[in-house]
Protein backbone atom coordinates (compact mmCIF):
# COMPACT_ATOMS: atom_id res chain seq x y z
CA UNK A 1 0.00 0.00 0.00
CA UNK A 2 2.57 2.49 1.19
CA UNK A 3 4.70 1.50 -1.74
CA UNK A 4 2.03 2.59 -4.10
CA UNK A 5 1.60 5.87 -2.31
CA UNK A 6 5.36 6.32 -2.57
CA UNK A 7 5.22 5.72 -6.27
CA UNK A 8 2.38 8.15 -6.51
CA UNK A 9 4.34 10.73 -4.55
CA UNK A 10 7.25 10.40 -6.89
CA UNK A 11 4.98 10.67 -9.90
CA UNK A 12 5.19 14.47 -10.11
CA UNK A 13 8.96 14.32 -10.01
CA UNK A 14 8.94 11.57 -12.59
CA UNK A 15 6.61 13.59 -14.77
CA UNK A 16 8.88 16.58 -14.43
CA UNK A 17 11.94 14.48 -15.15
CA UNK A 18 10.58 12.59 -18.09
CA UNK A 19 7.93 15.00 -19.29
CA UNK A 20 9.75 18.29 -18.93
CA UNK A 21 13.44 17.56 -18.77
CA UNK A 22 13.41 14.68 -21.23
CA UNK A 23 10.22 15.22 -23.22
CA UNK A 24 10.30 18.96 -23.70
CA UNK A 25 14.01 18.83 -24.23
CA UNK A 26 13.66 16.14 -26.88
CA UNK A 27 10.98 18.18 -28.59
CA UNK A 28 13.16 21.24 -28.54
CA UNK A 29 16.17 19.35 -29.79
CA UNK A 30 14.14 17.76 -32.54
CA UNK A 31 13.48 21.26 -33.78
CA UNK A 32 17.19 21.67 -34.39
CA UNK A 33 16.88 19.27 -37.30
CA UNK A 34 14.05 21.19 -38.91
CA UNK A 35 13.84 24.30 -40.97
CA UNK A 36 11.96 26.15 -38.21
CA UNK A 37 12.29 29.87 -38.27
CA UNK A 38 10.08 31.95 -36.03
CA UNK A 39 7.65 29.13 -35.40
CA UNK A 40 8.35 25.43 -35.08
CA UNK A 41 7.87 23.64 -38.37
CA UNK A 42 8.63 19.98 -38.78
CA UNK A 43 10.32 20.00 -42.09
CA UNK A 44 13.47 17.96 -41.69
CA UNK A 45 16.68 19.45 -42.97
CA UNK A 46 19.30 17.28 -41.33
CA UNK A 47 22.28 19.14 -39.98
CA UNK A 48 21.72 22.31 -41.92
CA UNK A 49 21.04 24.38 -38.81
CA UNK A 50 24.21 23.04 -37.26
CA UNK A 51 26.18 24.05 -40.31
CA UNK A 52 24.78 27.56 -39.99
CA UNK A 53 25.57 27.51 -36.33
CA UNK A 54 29.17 26.55 -36.74
CA UNK A 55 29.63 28.96 -39.59
CA UNK A 56 28.74 31.78 -37.22
CA UNK A 57 31.77 33.50 -35.76
CA UNK A 58 29.54 34.72 -33.01
CA UNK A 59 28.76 31.17 -31.96
CA UNK A 60 32.40 30.27 -32.00
CA UNK A 61 33.22 33.21 -29.78
CA UNK A 62 30.33 32.25 -27.54
CA UNK A 63 31.62 28.76 -27.01
CA UNK A 64 35.15 29.97 -26.37
CA UNK A 65 33.80 32.47 -23.91
CA UNK A 66 31.74 29.83 -22.17
CA UNK A 67 34.81 27.78 -21.45
CA UNK A 68 36.98 30.76 -20.59
CA UNK A 69 34.35 32.34 -18.42
CA UNK A 70 33.25 29.03 -16.97
CA UNK A 71 36.71 27.91 -16.01
CA UNK A 72 37.86 31.17 -14.51
CA UNK A 73 34.55 31.73 -12.78
CA UNK A 74 34.34 28.30 -11.23
CA UNK A 75 37.98 28.24 -10.19
CA UNK A 76 37.84 31.77 -8.80
CA UNK A 77 34.63 31.18 -6.88
CA UNK A 78 35.94 27.95 -5.43
CA UNK A 79 39.26 29.47 -4.44
CA UNK A 80 37.91 32.71 -3.10
CA UNK A 81 35.02 30.98 -1.40
CA UNK A 82 37.39 28.52 0.17
CA UNK A 83 39.83 31.16 1.35
CA UNK A 84 37.08 33.26 2.87
CA UNK A 85 35.55 30.24 4.53
CA UNK A 86 38.91 29.27 5.98
CA UNK A 87 39.52 32.78 7.27
CA UNK A 88 36.05 33.07 8.75
CA UNK A 89 36.59 29.72 10.39
CA UNK A 90 39.49 31.17 12.44
CA UNK A 91 37.10 32.21 15.20
CA UNK A 92 36.89 35.82 14.03
CA UNK A 93 34.69 38.47 15.49
CA UNK A 94 31.57 39.49 13.64
CA UNK A 95 31.35 36.23 11.79
CA UNK A 96 27.62 36.50 11.26
CA UNK A 97 27.89 39.98 9.82
CA UNK A 98 30.70 39.05 7.47
CA UNK A 99 28.85 36.00 6.31
CA UNK A 100 25.79 38.02 5.53
CA UNK A 101 27.81 40.64 3.67
CA UNK A 102 29.49 38.01 1.53
CA UNK A 103 26.18 36.42 0.79
CA UNK A 104 24.28 39.63 0.15
CA UNK A 105 25.08 39.97 -3.58
CA UNK A 106 23.13 36.81 -4.01
CA UNK A 107 19.97 38.61 -2.98
CA UNK A 108 20.09 40.98 -5.92
CA UNK A 109 18.64 39.85 -9.20
CA UNK A 110 21.11 39.33 -12.02
CA UNK A 111 19.73 42.23 -14.02
CA UNK A 112 20.42 44.54 -11.15
CA UNK A 113 23.83 43.05 -10.58
CA UNK A 114 24.73 43.69 -14.21
CA UNK A 115 23.48 47.23 -14.11
CA UNK A 116 25.34 48.19 -10.98
CA UNK A 117 28.54 46.63 -12.17
CA UNK A 118 28.36 48.13 -15.64
CA UNK A 119 28.33 51.43 -13.83
CA UNK A 120 30.99 50.54 -11.49
CA UNK A 121 33.29 49.36 -14.23
CA UNK A 122 32.50 52.27 -16.49
CA UNK A 123 35.86 54.00 -16.97
CA UNK A 124 34.34 57.47 -17.04
CA UNK A 125 32.07 57.31 -14.03
CA UNK A 126 33.23 54.33 -12.13
CA UNK A 127 36.21 53.07 -10.29
CA UNK A 128 38.78 54.24 -12.83
CA UNK A 129 37.53 57.80 -12.74
CA UNK A 130 37.37 57.70 -8.99
CA UNK A 131 40.92 56.53 -8.57
CA UNK A 132 42.17 58.95 -11.18
CA UNK A 133 40.47 61.76 -9.34
CA UNK A 134 42.35 60.75 -6.24
CA UNK A 135 45.46 61.71 -8.15
CA UNK A 136 46.51 58.47 -9.78
CA UNK A 137 46.25 59.80 -13.29
CA UNK A 138 47.64 56.72 -14.91
CA UNK A 139 45.32 54.28 -13.25
CA UNK A 140 43.62 52.17 -15.88
CA UNK A 141 40.72 49.90 -15.23
CA UNK A 142 38.68 49.76 -18.39
CA UNK A 143 37.94 46.09 -18.86
CA UNK A 144 34.51 46.71 -20.25
CA UNK A 145 35.82 48.67 -23.20
CA UNK A 146 38.58 46.24 -24.02
CA UNK A 147 37.28 43.36 -26.12
CA UNK A 148 40.02 41.16 -24.74
CA UNK A 149 39.21 41.92 -21.13
CA UNK A 150 35.46 42.39 -21.27
CA UNK A 151 34.72 38.73 -20.67
CA UNK A 152 36.80 38.97 -17.50
CA UNK A 153 34.63 41.82 -16.38
CA UNK A 154 31.69 39.45 -16.74
CA UNK A 155 33.63 36.88 -14.78
CA UNK A 156 34.47 39.39 -12.08
CA UNK A 157 30.84 40.30 -11.68
CA UNK A 158 29.75 36.70 -11.63
CA UNK A 159 32.40 35.87 -9.06
CA UNK A 160 31.19 38.79 -6.97
CA UNK A 161 27.77 37.27 -6.95
CA UNK A 162 28.65 33.61 -6.69
CA UNK A 163 31.39 33.56 -4.09
CA UNK A 164 29.13 33.99 -1.09
CA UNK A 165 27.22 30.81 -1.66
CA UNK A 166 30.40 28.81 -2.20
CA UNK A 167 31.86 30.32 0.94
CA UNK A 168 28.82 29.21 2.93
CA UNK A 169 29.01 25.71 1.56
CA UNK A 170 32.72 25.45 2.26
CA UNK A 171 32.28 26.87 5.71
CA UNK A 172 29.67 24.26 6.41
CA UNK A 173 32.11 21.65 5.19
CA UNK A 174 34.88 23.00 7.38
CA UNK A 175 32.66 22.88 10.42
CA UNK A 176 32.17 19.21 9.75
CA UNK A 177 35.88 18.41 9.67
CA UNK A 178 36.94 16.20 12.54
CA UNK A 179 38.32 18.49 15.22
CA UNK A 180 40.56 15.74 16.51
CA UNK A 181 42.22 15.46 13.14
CA UNK A 182 43.12 19.12 13.25
CA UNK A 183 44.51 18.67 16.72
CA UNK A 184 46.48 15.71 15.54
CA UNK A 185 47.96 17.82 12.75
CA UNK A 186 48.97 20.45 15.24
CA UNK A 187 50.67 17.94 17.46
CA UNK A 188 52.45 16.64 14.38
CA UNK A 189 53.72 20.15 13.78
CA UNK A 190 52.03 20.59 10.44
CA UNK A 191 51.84 24.30 9.63
CA UNK A 192 48.45 25.82 8.94
CA UNK A 193 49.04 26.54 5.32
CA UNK A 194 49.81 22.93 4.70
CA UNK A 195 46.74 21.83 6.59
CA UNK A 196 44.57 24.02 4.43
CA UNK A 197 46.23 23.20 1.16
CA UNK A 198 47.05 19.53 1.52
CA UNK A 199 44.87 17.92 4.10
CA UNK A 200 41.53 19.71 4.14
CA UNK A 201 40.63 20.12 0.46
CA UNK A 202 40.34 16.40 -0.23
CA UNK A 203 38.04 16.09 2.75
CA UNK A 204 35.76 18.78 1.38
CA UNK A 205 35.20 16.90 -1.85
CA UNK A 206 31.43 16.57 -1.37
CA UNK A 207 31.09 20.29 -0.75
CA UNK A 208 33.29 21.10 -3.69
CA UNK A 209 31.15 18.89 -5.89
CA UNK A 210 27.97 20.53 -4.65
CA UNK A 211 29.45 23.94 -5.35
CA UNK A 212 30.52 22.72 -8.74
CA UNK A 213 26.97 21.70 -9.64
CA UNK A 214 25.69 25.04 -8.49
CA UNK A 215 28.33 27.05 -10.31
CA UNK A 216 28.23 24.99 -13.48
CA UNK A 217 24.48 25.34 -13.71
CA UNK A 218 25.03 29.07 -13.33
CA UNK A 219 27.59 29.12 -16.12
CA UNK A 220 25.34 27.32 -18.55
CA UNK A 221 22.54 29.72 -17.74
CA UNK A 222 24.72 32.82 -17.76
CA UNK A 223 22.32 34.94 -19.69
CA UNK A 224 20.76 37.64 -17.56
CA UNK A 225 24.08 38.84 -16.29
CA UNK A 226 25.70 39.20 -19.68
CA UNK A 227 22.64 40.96 -21.06
CA UNK A 228 22.62 43.42 -18.23
CA UNK A 229 26.34 43.98 -18.12
CA UNK A 230 27.59 44.02 -21.71
CA UNK A 231 24.85 42.75 -23.99
CA UNK A 232 27.55 40.60 -25.46
CA UNK A 233 29.76 43.53 -26.38
CA UNK A 234 32.05 45.22 -27.16
CA UNK A 235 31.51 43.69 -30.55
CA UNK A 236 30.83 40.06 -29.90
CA UNK A 237 33.54 39.73 -27.32
CA UNK A 238 31.33 38.69 -24.43
CA UNK A 239 28.81 36.58 -26.23
CA UNK A 240 27.85 33.35 -24.51
CA UNK A 241 25.82 30.44 -25.83
CA UNK A 242 22.80 31.12 -23.65
CA UNK A 243 22.60 34.65 -24.99
CA UNK A 244 23.02 33.39 -28.52
CA UNK A 245 20.27 30.84 -28.10
CA UNK A 246 17.85 33.24 -26.45
CA UNK A 247 18.34 35.91 -29.01
CA UNK A 248 17.89 33.60 -31.94
CA UNK A 249 14.91 31.99 -30.35
CA UNK A 250 12.98 35.06 -29.33
CA UNK A 251 14.31 38.09 -31.13
CA UNK A 252 15.57 36.82 -34.44
CA UNK A 253 12.94 34.26 -35.21
CA UNK A 254 15.52 31.58 -35.88
CA UNK A 255 14.31 28.68 -33.80
CA UNK A 256 16.27 26.13 -35.82
CA UNK A 257 19.65 27.67 -35.13
CA UNK A 258 18.70 28.44 -31.55
CA UNK A 259 17.80 24.85 -30.78
CA UNK A 260 20.91 23.62 -32.55
CA UNK A 261 22.88 25.84 -30.22
CA UNK A 262 21.00 24.45 -27.22
CA UNK A 263 21.77 20.94 -28.38
CA UNK A 264 25.46 21.72 -28.55
CA UNK A 265 25.37 23.24 -25.09
CA UNK A 266 23.85 20.09 -23.68
CA UNK A 267 26.28 17.93 -25.53
CA UNK A 268 29.19 19.82 -24.06
CA UNK A 269 27.62 19.47 -20.63
CA UNK A 270 27.42 15.73 -21.05
CA UNK A 271 31.00 15.62 -22.28
CA UNK A 272 32.17 17.55 -19.24
CA UNK A 273 29.91 16.06 -16.58
CA UNK A 274 29.68 12.50 -17.83
CA UNK A 275 33.16 11.39 -16.85
CA UNK A 276 32.76 13.18 -13.52
CA UNK A 277 29.60 11.26 -12.69
CA UNK A 278 31.19 8.03 -13.83
CA UNK A 279 34.20 8.68 -11.68
CA UNK A 280 32.01 9.40 -8.66
CA UNK A 281 30.13 6.16 -9.15
CA UNK A 282 33.27 4.13 -9.42
CA UNK A 283 34.75 5.84 -6.39
CA UNK A 284 31.68 5.24 -4.25
CA UNK A 285 31.51 1.62 -5.41
CA UNK A 286 35.09 1.16 -4.44
CA UNK A 287 34.47 2.67 -1.07
CA UNK A 288 31.50 0.41 -0.48
CA UNK A 289 33.58 -2.56 -1.45
CA UNK A 290 36.27 -1.52 0.99
CA UNK A 291 33.93 -1.32 3.93
Amino acid sequence: MNKWIARLALAPAAIVAFGVFIGCLAYTLALSFTSSRMLPRFEWVGFEQYEKLFASSRWQVSVENLFLFGTVYIVACLLLGYVLAVLIDQKVRGETLLRTIYLSPHALSLVVTGLVWSWFLNPQFGLQAFVQELGFENFRFAWLSDPKMAIHAVTLTAVWRGTGIVMILMLAGLRGVDAEMIKSLRVDGVPKWRIYTQVIPPILTPMILTSLVLLAAGVINSYDLVVALTRGGPGISTQVPALFVMEHFFARGDVGVATAGAAIMLLSLIVVAGPLILWRRIASRRQEAAQ
Partner: protein, 363 residues
Protein backbone atom coordinates in the same frame (compact mmCIF):
# COMPACT_ATOMS: atom_id res chain seq x y z
CA UNK B 1 62.83 9.99 28.75
CA UNK B 2 60.83 12.70 30.42
CA UNK B 3 58.68 13.16 33.43
CA UNK B 4 55.68 15.41 33.39
CA UNK B 5 54.47 17.89 35.90
CA UNK B 6 51.22 19.78 35.98
CA UNK B 7 51.28 22.66 38.39
CA UNK B 8 48.06 24.35 39.40
CA UNK B 9 46.52 24.18 35.98
CA UNK B 10 43.06 25.71 35.50
CA UNK B 11 41.06 25.56 32.31
CA UNK B 12 37.76 27.25 31.63
CA UNK B 13 35.44 27.36 28.65
CA UNK B 14 33.95 30.80 29.01
CA UNK B 15 32.18 30.82 32.36
CA UNK B 16 32.50 27.07 32.84
CA UNK B 17 35.61 26.11 34.77
CA UNK B 18 36.49 22.56 33.83
CA UNK B 19 39.78 22.14 35.66
CA UNK B 20 40.71 24.10 38.72
CA UNK B 21 44.21 24.34 40.16
CA UNK B 22 45.01 20.78 39.23
CA UNK B 23 48.33 19.29 40.28
CA UNK B 24 49.71 16.04 38.96
CA UNK B 25 53.17 14.55 38.59
CA UNK B 26 53.95 11.65 36.30
CA UNK B 27 57.44 10.19 36.74
CA UNK B 28 59.48 9.19 33.73
CA UNK B 29 58.41 5.95 32.02
CA UNK B 30 55.24 5.68 34.05
CA UNK B 31 51.96 4.59 32.49
CA UNK B 32 49.30 6.81 33.99
CA UNK B 33 45.64 6.25 33.26
CA UNK B 34 43.12 9.04 33.67
CA UNK B 35 39.82 7.45 34.52
CA UNK B 36 36.54 9.19 35.03
CA UNK B 37 32.97 9.58 33.88
CA UNK B 38 32.04 11.38 30.70
CA UNK B 39 32.48 15.13 30.90
CA UNK B 40 34.79 15.14 33.90
CA UNK B 41 37.59 16.92 32.06
CA UNK B 42 39.88 14.08 31.01
CA UNK B 43 40.21 15.22 27.40
CA UNK B 44 40.54 18.78 28.54
CA UNK B 45 43.49 17.88 30.74
CA UNK B 46 45.13 15.90 27.95
CA UNK B 47 44.64 18.76 25.53
CA UNK B 48 46.12 21.17 28.02
CA UNK B 49 49.20 18.97 28.30
CA UNK B 50 49.47 18.77 24.53
CA UNK B 51 49.09 22.52 24.18
CA UNK B 52 45.86 22.16 22.23
CA UNK B 53 43.93 23.95 24.91
CA UNK B 54 44.85 27.30 26.40
CA UNK B 55 45.15 27.16 30.13
CA UNK B 56 44.19 30.12 32.26
CA UNK B 57 46.63 29.54 35.12
CA UNK B 58 49.36 27.11 35.97
CA UNK B 59 52.26 25.48 34.23
CA UNK B 60 52.97 22.36 32.25
CA UNK B 61 56.50 21.06 32.67
CA UNK B 62 57.80 18.24 30.51
CA UNK B 63 61.26 16.79 31.14
CA UNK B 64 62.06 19.69 33.42
CA UNK B 65 61.27 22.24 30.74
CA UNK B 66 58.37 24.64 31.17
CA UNK B 67 56.40 24.20 27.96
CA UNK B 68 53.30 26.07 29.02
CA UNK B 69 53.59 28.38 26.06
CA UNK B 70 55.26 26.09 23.57
CA UNK B 71 53.60 24.94 20.37
CA UNK B 72 52.09 21.43 20.51
CA UNK B 73 54.67 20.16 18.06
CA UNK B 74 57.52 21.51 20.18
CA UNK B 75 56.60 19.69 23.37
CA UNK B 76 58.05 16.32 22.52
CA UNK B 77 54.68 14.67 22.77
CA UNK B 78 52.71 12.38 20.52
CA UNK B 79 48.97 11.92 20.74
CA UNK B 80 46.44 9.33 19.66
CA UNK B 81 42.77 10.19 19.39
CA UNK B 82 39.56 8.35 19.92
CA UNK B 83 38.32 8.97 16.39
CA UNK B 84 41.66 7.88 14.93
CA UNK B 85 41.85 11.24 13.15
CA UNK B 86 43.58 9.73 10.17
CA UNK B 87 44.10 11.93 7.13
CA UNK B 88 41.42 10.45 4.91
CA UNK B 89 42.91 10.92 1.46
CA UNK B 90 46.44 9.90 2.27
CA UNK B 91 47.75 6.37 2.16
CA UNK B 92 48.73 4.71 5.39
CA UNK B 93 52.34 5.33 4.49
CA UNK B 94 51.78 9.03 4.05
CA UNK B 95 49.74 9.17 7.20
CA UNK B 96 52.71 7.85 9.07
CA UNK B 97 55.29 9.85 7.17
CA UNK B 98 53.47 13.14 7.00
CA UNK B 99 54.76 14.74 10.17
CA UNK B 100 58.30 13.69 9.27
CA UNK B 101 57.96 15.10 5.77
CA UNK B 102 56.70 18.33 7.21
CA UNK B 103 59.76 18.37 9.46
CA UNK B 104 61.94 17.82 6.35
CA UNK B 105 63.65 14.70 7.58
CA UNK B 106 65.79 12.91 5.01
CA UNK B 107 63.86 10.46 2.88
CA UNK B 108 65.79 7.44 3.99
CA UNK B 109 65.30 8.25 7.62
CA UNK B 110 61.56 8.68 7.06
CA UNK B 111 61.28 5.35 5.32
CA UNK B 112 63.23 3.67 8.00
CA UNK B 113 61.15 5.05 10.82
CA UNK B 114 57.86 4.33 9.10
CA UNK B 115 58.82 0.78 8.37
CA UNK B 116 60.01 0.20 11.87
CA UNK B 117 56.76 1.50 13.30
CA UNK B 118 54.74 -0.45 10.78
CA UNK B 119 56.48 -3.64 11.66
CA UNK B 120 56.07 -3.10 15.32
CA UNK B 121 52.32 -2.69 14.75
CA UNK B 122 52.09 -5.35 12.06
CA UNK B 123 50.65 -3.06 9.44
CA UNK B 124 53.44 -3.35 6.90
CA UNK B 125 51.15 -4.86 4.26
CA UNK B 126 48.67 -2.06 4.72
CA UNK B 127 51.03 0.80 3.91
CA UNK B 128 49.60 1.41 0.45
CA UNK B 129 45.96 1.46 1.49
CA UNK B 130 43.73 4.42 2.15
CA UNK B 131 42.16 4.69 5.63
CA UNK B 132 38.69 3.97 4.24
CA UNK B 133 39.90 0.51 3.27
CA UNK B 134 40.97 -0.44 6.78
CA UNK B 135 39.04 -2.10 9.56
CA UNK B 136 38.59 -0.33 12.85
CA UNK B 137 41.44 -2.09 14.54
CA UNK B 138 43.80 -1.43 11.68
CA UNK B 139 42.89 2.22 11.70
CA UNK B 140 43.64 2.46 15.36
CA UNK B 141 47.00 0.88 14.79
CA UNK B 142 47.81 3.41 12.13
CA UNK B 143 46.86 6.15 14.54
CA UNK B 144 49.19 4.71 17.12
CA UNK B 145 51.85 4.32 14.46
CA UNK B 146 51.59 7.98 13.66
CA UNK B 147 52.46 8.72 17.23
CA UNK B 148 55.25 6.15 17.24
CA UNK B 149 57.24 7.52 14.31
CA UNK B 150 57.52 10.86 16.00
CA UNK B 151 59.74 9.40 18.65
CA UNK B 152 58.21 11.55 21.32
CA UNK B 153 59.11 11.37 24.98
CA UNK B 154 55.53 11.54 26.25
CA UNK B 155 52.66 9.68 24.67
CA UNK B 156 49.11 10.86 25.17
CA UNK B 157 46.18 8.58 24.37
CA UNK B 158 42.62 9.93 24.39
CA UNK B 159 40.30 6.93 24.61
CA UNK B 160 42.08 5.29 21.74
CA UNK B 161 40.12 2.05 21.91
CA UNK B 162 36.62 3.19 22.71
CA UNK B 163 35.39 2.90 19.15
CA UNK B 164 36.40 -0.71 18.78
CA UNK B 165 34.55 -3.87 19.57
CA UNK B 166 35.34 -6.03 22.56
CA UNK B 167 37.57 -8.59 20.87
CA UNK B 168 39.77 -5.98 19.24
CA UNK B 169 40.00 -3.96 22.38
CA UNK B 170 41.50 -6.80 24.27
CA UNK B 171 44.01 -7.35 21.50
CA UNK B 172 45.12 -3.77 21.19
CA UNK B 173 45.20 -3.30 24.90
CA UNK B 174 47.84 -5.98 25.14
CA UNK B 175 49.69 -4.40 22.26
CA UNK B 176 49.78 -1.00 23.92
CA UNK B 177 51.02 -2.58 27.10
CA UNK B 178 53.80 -4.28 25.15
CA UNK B 179 54.68 -1.01 23.41
CA UNK B 180 55.06 0.69 26.74
CA UNK B 181 57.41 -1.97 27.90
CA UNK B 182 59.50 -1.78 24.74
CA UNK B 183 59.57 1.97 24.25
CA UNK B 184 59.96 2.94 27.88
CA UNK B 185 58.20 6.24 27.42
CA UNK B 186 55.97 8.20 29.75
CA UNK B 187 52.39 7.50 28.74
CA UNK B 188 49.15 9.14 29.75
CA UNK B 189 46.07 7.30 28.79
CA UNK B 190 42.50 8.56 29.04
CA UNK B 191 39.64 6.10 29.26
CA UNK B 192 36.40 5.51 30.95
CA UNK B 193 36.75 1.79 30.59
CA UNK B 194 37.79 0.26 33.86
CA UNK B 195 39.19 -2.91 32.44
CA UNK B 196 41.54 -0.88 30.31
CA UNK B 197 42.48 1.27 33.23
CA UNK B 198 43.15 -1.67 35.51
CA UNK B 199 45.16 -3.64 33.01
CA UNK B 200 47.28 -0.89 31.52
CA UNK B 201 48.08 1.44 34.33
CA UNK B 202 51.04 1.73 36.59
CA UNK B 203 49.01 4.40 38.29
CA UNK B 204 45.42 5.44 37.89
CA UNK B 205 44.11 8.93 38.52
CA UNK B 206 40.37 8.93 39.02
CA UNK B 207 38.85 12.24 37.99
CA UNK B 208 35.49 13.70 38.77
CA UNK B 209 34.31 17.23 38.13
CA UNK B 210 37.83 18.26 37.21
CA UNK B 211 39.31 17.10 40.47
CA UNK B 212 41.50 14.10 41.13
CA UNK B 213 39.64 11.84 43.49
CA UNK B 214 42.39 9.34 43.97
CA UNK B 215 45.79 8.67 42.50
CA UNK B 216 47.23 5.23 43.05
CA UNK B 217 48.07 1.83 41.69
CA UNK B 218 45.23 -0.11 40.13
CA UNK B 219 45.10 -2.40 43.13
CA UNK B 220 44.97 0.47 45.55
CA UNK B 221 42.17 2.05 43.60
CA UNK B 222 40.28 -1.20 43.42
CA UNK B 223 40.84 -2.48 46.89
CA UNK B 224 41.02 0.64 48.97
CA UNK B 225 39.02 3.31 47.15
CA UNK B 226 39.46 6.70 48.75
CA UNK B 227 35.82 7.61 48.63
CA UNK B 228 32.37 6.45 47.68
CA UNK B 229 32.67 7.80 44.16
CA UNK B 230 35.82 5.88 43.36
CA UNK B 231 34.43 2.79 45.01
CA UNK B 232 31.25 2.93 42.96
CA UNK B 233 32.87 3.97 39.73
CA UNK B 234 35.48 1.25 39.53
CA UNK B 235 34.35 -2.35 39.13
CA UNK B 236 31.47 -4.02 37.34
CA UNK B 237 29.13 -5.04 38.69
CA UNK B 238 29.74 -2.16 41.04
CA UNK B 239 30.75 -2.51 44.66
CA UNK B 240 27.77 -3.32 46.88
CA UNK B 241 26.90 -0.62 49.37
CA UNK B 242 25.09 -1.19 52.64
CA UNK B 243 24.24 1.75 54.80
CA UNK B 244 24.83 1.27 58.50
CA UNK B 245 25.86 2.78 61.78
CA UNK B 246 29.05 2.33 63.75
CA UNK B 247 28.08 0.34 66.80
CA UNK B 248 31.40 0.24 68.46
CA UNK B 249 34.51 2.08 67.32
CA UNK B 250 36.99 0.53 69.68
CA UNK B 251 39.66 -1.98 68.75
CA UNK B 252 36.91 -4.35 67.65
CA UNK B 253 34.99 -2.31 65.14
CA UNK B 254 31.33 -3.27 64.82
CA UNK B 255 28.91 -1.90 62.29
CA UNK B 256 25.18 -2.38 62.29
CA UNK B 257 23.79 -2.71 58.77
CA UNK B 258 20.04 -2.59 59.16
CA UNK B 259 19.78 -5.18 61.81
CA UNK B 260 22.82 -7.31 61.19
CA UNK B 261 25.82 -6.66 63.37
CA UNK B 262 29.05 -7.05 61.50
CA UNK B 263 32.30 -7.23 63.41
CA UNK B 264 35.21 -6.02 61.29
CA UNK B 265 38.35 -7.07 63.14
CA UNK B 266 40.57 -7.15 60.08
CA UNK B 267 39.49 -3.79 58.60
CA UNK B 268 42.49 -1.50 58.00
CA UNK B 269 41.30 1.94 59.09
CA UNK B 270 42.41 5.13 57.44
CA UNK B 271 40.48 7.42 59.72
CA UNK B 272 38.97 6.84 63.11
CA UNK B 273 35.33 5.87 63.08
CA UNK B 274 33.16 7.12 65.92
CA UNK B 275 30.37 5.18 67.54
CA UNK B 276 27.00 6.23 66.18
CA UNK B 277 28.54 7.52 62.98
CA UNK B 278 26.49 6.88 59.86
CA UNK B 279 28.59 4.89 57.47
CA UNK B 280 28.38 3.05 54.18
CA UNK B 281 29.89 -0.38 54.08
CA UNK B 282 31.16 -1.51 50.70
CA UNK B 283 32.01 -4.99 49.55
CA UNK B 284 32.88 -6.13 46.04
CA UNK B 285 30.63 -8.75 44.40
CA UNK B 286 33.48 -11.20 43.98
CA UNK B 287 34.37 -10.97 47.64
CA UNK B 288 31.02 -12.40 48.61
CA UNK B 289 31.16 -16.16 48.91
CA UNK B 290 28.55 -18.84 48.98
CA UNK B 291 31.10 -21.37 50.05
CA UNK B 292 31.06 -21.95 53.75
CA UNK B 293 34.46 -23.41 53.87
CA UNK B 294 36.28 -20.29 52.73
CA UNK B 295 39.25 -19.49 54.87
CA UNK B 296 39.29 -16.13 56.53
CA UNK B 297 35.59 -15.36 56.07
CA UNK B 298 34.59 -13.73 59.35
CA UNK B 299 31.37 -11.96 58.30
CA UNK B 300 28.01 -13.34 57.40
CA UNK B 301 24.92 -11.86 55.75
CA UNK B 302 21.67 -13.41 54.66
CA UNK B 303 20.08 -12.09 51.48
CA UNK B 304 17.17 -13.02 49.17
CA UNK B 305 18.06 -14.16 45.69
CA UNK B 306 16.46 -12.15 42.90
CA UNK B 307 17.84 -13.21 39.53
CA UNK B 308 20.89 -15.05 38.32
CA UNK B 309 22.93 -14.26 35.31
CA UNK B 310 25.42 -16.66 33.82
CA UNK B 311 28.27 -15.00 32.01
CA UNK B 312 29.70 -18.30 30.85
CA UNK B 313 32.95 -17.83 32.65
CA UNK B 314 31.21 -16.81 35.83
CA UNK B 315 27.83 -16.20 37.35
CA UNK B 316 26.28 -13.06 38.83
CA UNK B 317 23.59 -13.49 41.39
CA UNK B 318 21.40 -10.47 42.05
CA UNK B 319 19.95 -10.44 45.51
CA UNK B 320 18.35 -8.06 48.00
CA UNK B 321 19.20 -7.20 51.50
CA UNK B 322 16.70 -4.98 53.24
CA UNK B 323 15.65 -3.42 49.98
CA UNK B 324 19.25 -2.81 48.94
CA UNK B 325 20.43 -4.57 45.82
CA UNK B 326 23.42 -6.86 46.18
CA UNK B 327 25.44 -8.44 43.39
CA UNK B 328 27.41 -11.58 43.98
CA UNK B 329 29.95 -12.83 41.49
CA UNK B 330 30.74 -16.49 41.69
CA UNK B 331 32.64 -19.00 39.60
CA UNK B 332 30.48 -21.03 37.22
CA UNK B 333 31.08 -24.12 39.29
CA UNK B 334 29.86 -22.57 42.53
CA UNK B 335 26.95 -24.32 44.25
CA UNK B 336 23.55 -23.67 42.64
CA UNK B 337 21.10 -21.26 44.27
CA UNK B 338 17.36 -20.93 43.87
CA UNK B 339 15.63 -17.75 42.70
CA UNK B 340 13.61 -16.21 45.48
CA UNK B 341 15.28 -18.31 48.17
CA UNK B 342 17.34 -16.82 51.02
CA UNK B 343 21.07 -17.17 50.67
CA UNK B 344 23.83 -17.02 53.20
CA UNK B 345 26.91 -15.06 52.23
CA UNK B 346 30.39 -15.07 53.79
CA UNK B 347 33.10 -12.55 53.39
CA UNK B 348 36.25 -11.43 55.05
CA UNK B 349 36.32 -8.19 57.01
CA UNK B 350 39.70 -7.56 55.39
CA UNK B 351 37.93 -6.97 52.07
CA UNK B 352 35.31 -4.41 53.05
CA UNK B 353 35.53 -0.68 52.68
CA UNK B 354 33.96 1.77 55.08
CA UNK B 355 32.93 5.29 54.16
CA UNK B 356 31.51 8.14 56.12
CA UNK B 357 27.94 8.56 54.93
CA UNK B 358 28.21 12.35 54.86
CA UNK B 359 31.70 13.15 53.61
CA UNK B 360 31.75 9.95 51.56
CA UNK B 361 35.42 9.49 52.32
CA UNK B 362 37.07 6.30 53.42
CA UNK B 363 37.36 5.60 57.06
Amino acid sequence: MADLEIRGVSVAYGALTVLEELNLTVPDEEFLVLLGPSGCGKSTLLNAIAGLQDISTGQVVIGGKNVTWAEPSARGIAMVFQSYALYPRMSVYRNLAYSLQVARLPRAEIEDRVHRAAEMLQITELLERKPAMLSGGQRQRVAIGRALVRDASVFLFDEPLSNLDAQLRVELRVEIKRLHRELKRTMIYVTHDQVEAMTLADKIAVLKGGEIQQLGTPDAIYDTPANLFVAGFVGAPAMNFLSGTVQSAGPDLVVDVRGTQLALPKYARTAAPVAGQKVVLGIRPERLNLDNRLVGADCRLTVDVDVQESLGSEKVIWARYQGQQIAIKTPVDAPAVTDGAPLELNFSSANVSLFDADTETRL
